[in-house]
């Protein structure tokens, strides 16, 4: 080897060594980087946490809502298993989305509108979101989908839980329903800065109360969500359900209502096909035994999202099925208000022997105010005036009492106010007096004639069926300020307090009760034909009510007191009066008068008060003196049912007995 060559070889060797050294340095760099990542993780746990977050996804388990029971423990709203089919759009793929949804729709027989909506949902869904195609499947539908799942990638069927209302329409109004939170509600929660709750609300299993008690008691009965850590892959698909950490949801506590399901259902059945409302209240405790509005709707339809077409149909129905008439329907009380006017007049010093001559009209301020009976009632006293619902008598009784005293009495009897019974969207109604007039009309002089309209329950007065029932109850119980209640027992419900005695004239109450006894239980009373014979008898020793057919000798007939009423929907013109008021049956339904009836019973031991309003239920007979428009016959059947069952006499259900297992945690959470 030459020197030059050796030099060159040594150059190569030096450089090869350098390259090897470079390789070693590079290797060292990678090893130290690997070690650094470990060390970093050792200190901060960053990667371990991210790996866990990566690997596990917190799946929310919606808690079962508190069960709503009727007063005897009958379940009115429950959380039950729900079979549903859903798709994971990401797994289906954009191209297959429509064919897949169509195929599922075909299996389940879903319409084009549903397909289009689900398609829209699926396209808007985020990565790993699920889109429920149909919930509330029957077992056969569920099976039909299940067997075809292998040919439907990205489609799943599972059992979830869902709110159900076993009584369908019967409790739709007082209980309401739950639904998925809408975007507005979610936005509101986001605006409050509660991101976690917003995420929770977006979960497809979560429902919140939207109407009735469900909405009112939302916070109390929703329960506490649980969660389950499931192992997921990068696509968000669950690869392992088990093994992950789990926190069981805490079911919401149950609530016992005052309503008796039997009576409620009876009332709903009785009002079927009518636009009507019925409230039955315990005059001692204020328990609402019946709070029914007809027509009802099926709350189960709402839980999984009602179709817009179906909602439109319900919403535009002229019988207003979605409308909770018992508390949001404000009607002129008509002659039922004479109960109030009568008490006010006696309080105002109306003499015992006060009598008026009724020629069929009363002239006041140069204007004729009419009685419903064109020929008049002749000379009538307090008792007969109520019994025959003579307007002319009550015009003058009203004048005797004065506007303010009538208004005060009306408020004491429970009109013109809202009740915190757990039903949202209640209206207060109107009890007109000078203060109210000023707030409405300002400086305009108070019309002196207003008192006459008020005295017979027309004019500006507006009352709800619930208020009318309270009025009847407070009269029937001798003037005690009984407060209505819908929830007997539940979170945050105070125990019943003894009702305060109202500063009402006891004499007035006595005379009114006497008069309305005549209405319902004496021949010639405006409701006698309906209410005169309930076909119920009672044991004078125990007050036990039995059916007339099974009554042993010695029992007495059950009697009730009541008052009819008609709320004018249209203004009757002088010309019309001249030619004879048109019979209601000849008028379009929408223009017919509302028919009202309030009553209480049994007279021997008053326990229940009832108020019925039948929208546009007025009939000609009422004008002709029968008084038995649509409302009284319903009252008769409902009262008969209530008196016979006598729910207040039976021991009510207790949460502690219905849900013994829930007592501990429920207390702990409070």
């Amino acid at each position: 080897m030459t020197t030059a060559k050796r030099d060159l070889h040594s150059v190569f060797n030096r450089r090869a060594l350098l390259i090897s050294g470079g390789g070693t340095v590079a290797m060292g760099a990678i090893v130290s980087r690997l070690a650094y990542l470990q060390a970093e993780n050792l200190v901060t746990d960053t990667y371990t946490e991210e790996a866990r977050d990566n690997r596990f996804d917190q799946r929310i388990i919606a808690p079962p809502r508190g069960i709503l029971y009727d007063r005897f423990g009958e379940k009115l709203a429950v959380t039950s298993p729900d079979y549903r089919v859903f798709i994971i759009p990401e797994q289906v793929g954009v191209k297959n989305l429509e064919p897949t949804i169509r195929r599922v729709a075909e299996i389940l027989g879903l319409g084009e509108d549903v397909i289009q909506r689900r398609l829209r949902d699926a396209r808007a869904a985020k990565r790993s979101d699920i889109v429920i195609i149909r919930a509330g499947l029957r077992w056969d539908e569920f099976s039909a989908v299940n067997v075809r799942l292998p040919e439907l990638p990205g489609v799943r069927a599972d059992a979830s839980s869902i709110r159900r209302y076993p009584y369908d329409i019967a409790f739709a109004h007082p209980i309401g329903y739950v639904q998925k939170p809408n975007q507005r509600e979610i936005d509101a929660v986001i605006a409050e800065g509660d991101e976690r709750r917003a995420v929770y609300l977006k979960n497809p299993d979560v429902r919140v109360g939207k109407a009735g008690l469900e909405a009112y008691l939302e916070k109390q009965i929703h329960g506490e969500a649980g969660w389950r850590m499931v192992e997921v892959n990068a696509a968000g698909r669950v690869i392992d359900e088990v093994g992950g950490e789990t926190r069981e949801p805490v079911p919401g506590p149950g609530v016992v209502l005052s309503i008796d399901a039997e009576c409620q259902r009876g009332a709903m059945e009785r009002m079927a096909g009518m636009s009507a409302s019925c409230v039955v209240i315990d005059v001692v405790t204020g328990d609402l035994v019946v709070m029914a509005s007809s027509p009802g709707f099926n709350p189960n339809e709402f839980v999984n999202g009602i179709s817009p077409a179906r909602f439109k149909e319900l919403n535009e129905d002229q019988y207003k099925p979605l409308f909770h008439k018992s508390v949001t329907g404000a009607y002129k009380p008509g002659s039922t208000f004479k109960i109030c006017t009568g008490i006010a007049a006696v309080t105002g010093g109306l003499p015992e022997n006060f009598r008026v001559n009724c020629p069929g009209y009363y002239t006041f301020g140069g204007r004729a105010f009419h009685c419903w009976r064109r020929g008049g009632h002749g000379t009538v006293g307090f008792h007969d005036a109520l019994k025959q619902s003579c307007n002319v008598f009550f015009y003058q009784a009203g004048l005797h009492a004065g506007q303010q005293r009538i208004a005060d009495t009306a408020r004491m009897l429970g009109l013109g106010q809202k009740y915190d019974i757990g039903v949202p969207s209640m209206v207060p109604g109107i009890v007109p007096d000078e203060a109210w007039w000023k707030s409405k009309r300002g400086a305009e002089p108070f019309p002196p004639g207003m008192i006459l309209n008020t005295a017979i329950g027309q004019g500006d007065l507006l009352t709800t069926p619930l208020q009318l029932a309270v009025m009847m109850a407070r009269v029937a119980n001798g003037g005690k300020e009984v407060m209505p209640r819908l929830v007997r027992e539940g979170p945050g419900v105070a125990p019943l307090k003894e009702a305060r005695q109202l500063p009402l004239s006891q004499d007035g109450i006595r005379r009114v009760l006497d008069g309305i006894f005549g209405v319902a239980s004496e021949p010639g009373g405006t409701a006698y034909r309906s209410m005169g014979n309930l076909e119920l008898w009672y044991d004078p020793a125990t007050n036990k009510v039995v059916d007339a057919a099974t009554a042993p000798p010695g029992y007495k007939q059950v009697q009730v007191g009541g008052k009819t009423g008609t709320a004018q929907v249209r203004v009757i013109t002088a010309a019309e009066r001249g030619s004879g008021v048109k019979g209601n049956q000849n008028l379009p339904w929408k223009l017919r008068d509302h028919s009202l009836f309030v009553c209480h019973g049994p007279v021997h031991n008053p326990r229940y008060a009832c108020a019925i309003v039948v929208e546009h239920g007025g009939t000609l007979e009422q004008y002709l003196g029968g008084g038995s428009a649509a409302a009284a016959p319903i009252a008769r059947d409902v009262m008969r049912l209530v008196l016979l069952r006598d729910p207040s006499a039976m021991p009510a259900a207790k949460i502690a007995e219905l849900e013994p297992h829930l007592r501990g945690p429920a207390k702990g959470r409070a």
């Binding site: 060159l8 590079a26 990678i30 090893v31 696509a235």
Partner: protein, 381 residues
Amino acid sequence: MSISSSLQGRPRGTSEKLSRLNWAIITLLCALAVTGVIMHFSVAEGSWAGRPLSHGGRFAVVLAIVIGVALLDARIWMAAAYPVYFGALALLVGVELFGETRMGATRWLSLGPVSLQPSEIMKIGIVLALARYYHNIDPRNAGSLLWSIPPLLMIAAPVALVMHQPDLGTSMLIAAAGVGIMFLAGLRWRYIVPAGIAAVGGAIAAYFFVLQQYQRDRINTFLNPEADPLGTGYHVAQSKIAIGSAGLFGKGYLQGTQSQGDFLPEKHTDFIFTMIGEEFGLIGAVAVLGLYFALFILTMAVSARARTMFGRLAAAGIALTLALYVFINTSMVIGLVPVVGIPLPLISFGGTAMLTLMTGYAIVLSIDLHRDQSSTRGFLW
């Protein structure tokens, strides 16, 4: 046999040749390939079907061919150097003209039923051609600028073509291997330093004027991976999570939560090192790196032992290519360099890279076996 026996080297029998093969290198190659099989078994979530068997089978076949070829005279590689290089260059031009576009890059050339990537052939071609070039010139001229012009052109032509495909990773690999051989051949430092400075300047200029947007994105993502965690940065972010959360001993074979949960993309190809890191921890990753490092050192030793300049430069060039593969891949998955799409040789799934590297090792083994041949005189020309 007739050719070799007519040469000055001692005549040898096949069995003797076999026994003189560099079995240490072969063992390391096998160890790496077996690592690959083990990892593909895990990628397949514990199933032999598909990749694990196919990877192992392919390696076995290729290894047999490699050993057979290694027994042939090393000088045939020198003879083949320019034809391979220019053939590959012609194919690269062919790709440019008739190439098949897959996944946004034109790298494949269809020749009947076979589709091949000429850029892979070029990885070997450049090493052989430069080794041949420096073998033939007067060693004293190797360091000079003038004599460095042909090698520079030989590097620049394929690099430009491959970069245009576009395949940044492979063009970098070719360029680095080429420049490495020039360095080993004795290019003077006074040229290397300014050239290095110019290269950095050129890289910056290239970033703005030559690179495609997706390549720029990769670099940007590399510099700031958190900016786009679900885009290009996702791979690296997931890879770092997997490795970082593994600990010293890893999460256990088949237990890698990130890789088994599909969080890790490309785990059977470019990101397989992450899986090793996750399932076998720091120890496992360092062990695999150790295998590569041993292979690299043994290959450099082959280079140092070779008597001919061709043998030295070719073996060193292949060692360099291996080191670059491993360095670029591993530093890519741990976020040291941008994601460029370079597989981990012999472990990542994919026939092309295995074939390229094993061809390289056929040459290395052959060079080692015939290291005593100091001259080419009398051979073929």
